[in-house]
Symmetry: C2
Subunit: 250 residues, 2 copies
Amino acid sequence: MRPLIARDVAYTHGGTEMLGMLIAPEGAASLPTVVLLHDAFGLGADTVAQARRHAELGVAVFAADVWGGRHTPAGGPDIGAMVRDRGEWMGRVAAAHRAAAEQPEVDGSRLVSLGYCFGGAGALEHVRTGGDVVGAVSIHGGLDLLDRDWSAPTSGIGVLVCTGADDPMATAQQRAALEADLTAAGIHWELDLYGGVQHAFTNPRSDLPGMPPGVAYSARASERAWQSTRQFLADRFGTADAIDPIGGGA
Amino acid sequence: MRPLIARDVAYTHGGTEMLGMLIAPEGAASLPTVVLLHDAFGLGADTVAQARRHAELGVAVFAADVWGGRHTPAGGPDIGAMVRDRGEWMGRVAAAHRAAAEQPEVDGSRLVSLGYCFGGAGALEHVRTGGDVVGAVSIHGGLDLLDRDWSAPTSGIGVLVCTGADDPMATAQQRAALEADLTAAGIHWELDLYGGVQHAFTNPRSDLPGMPPGVAYSARASERAWQSTRQFLADRFGTADAIDPIGGGA
């Protein structure tokens, strides 16, 4: 395993200055790349750890800074405003993808959007609104945040959704709507559903006092989602050898 | 990799004489074991190939002979009669598990029922009716064949269901019913749903002329189901090292 390098990457959308982070194996060039969209809590230590974990698979990772200025709001209070101004939200997400594609470590024709919670919804919305990616991964994404017009994406994109069956932000009705929309859009998709599992299941902090109802950590679901993600990336990137889905980063 | 051994194993239920097959690494003793339930076409060459593929992961496999006498009906015409006489069906499935547990290569306390199509339904029904296994895997199982009384199984069992979103024998309504039943029974479960995928997706023969509507091969879904199965077996058997889910049998 080569060591990882990390550097900050400044980019903008409208008047918002954002500071993403590029993490990649040392000496890498034109690698397939994960554009990592943080959850409601912003590009903080947890998201950097997620980015490193993915980069250890042998890909580049561009961690986006959707809130801008590396803002890490404790309660993620900005989601509502962002969702109501979807143009702004998607503009910032698209800007992250453009900034990623400009890095020498990145092959801009092989991007996968990947996110958790709010970031998972952002990855799906980026595909829905015509984002130029080969795939998207939503890990306990807020399916309640999605719009329904899927006329923009080109076929051939792959989507992986990993979600808890008891997630109040991804109800059976919302899952069924997404499944129908993805199928109608000609996207090949997989939805992994975990029984008895709630929202934010990858995050051990979900079990801390003061968290809202409907949120709980699940070590098993977290591990299964990670394995599914590795398989999906290997398939999408066509690099089954490079991304050893078991040997690396476990 | 140690070479595999294979031997026939005769067993009975009521008046039916069945001839299963034990496949395991040479010299194995007390291994975690997959009890493989064939599809409608019986214990023929396809099922033996599936059994070998699983045994190459480093586990023992007992391939059941649910029809008896190694019958391999071309069209699987006996399903209806078997489903109507559920006591007979489950009696034969339970007999296969007992026969498996008696083999020296097998650790009878670590059995997973696993099947395709009709066999997937059989694996789920075996759990539902109190089968003494640590897990069950249904690959494009006929969810239309399941009963609803899940009072028998003990908690702690795990279930993996891999199914196509366009499988006419596993409709959204049937999936939702199974999900609710498994949750109520205290079983931890995962359902992997593949968009645009139909019944019998692991079998290249599904694309041959003369097959019924609603049946189609999908290389991608077949591979994804295989990876999920390996992960599930490693989790259930507690042998992540022994069952290298990527290195072996790909």
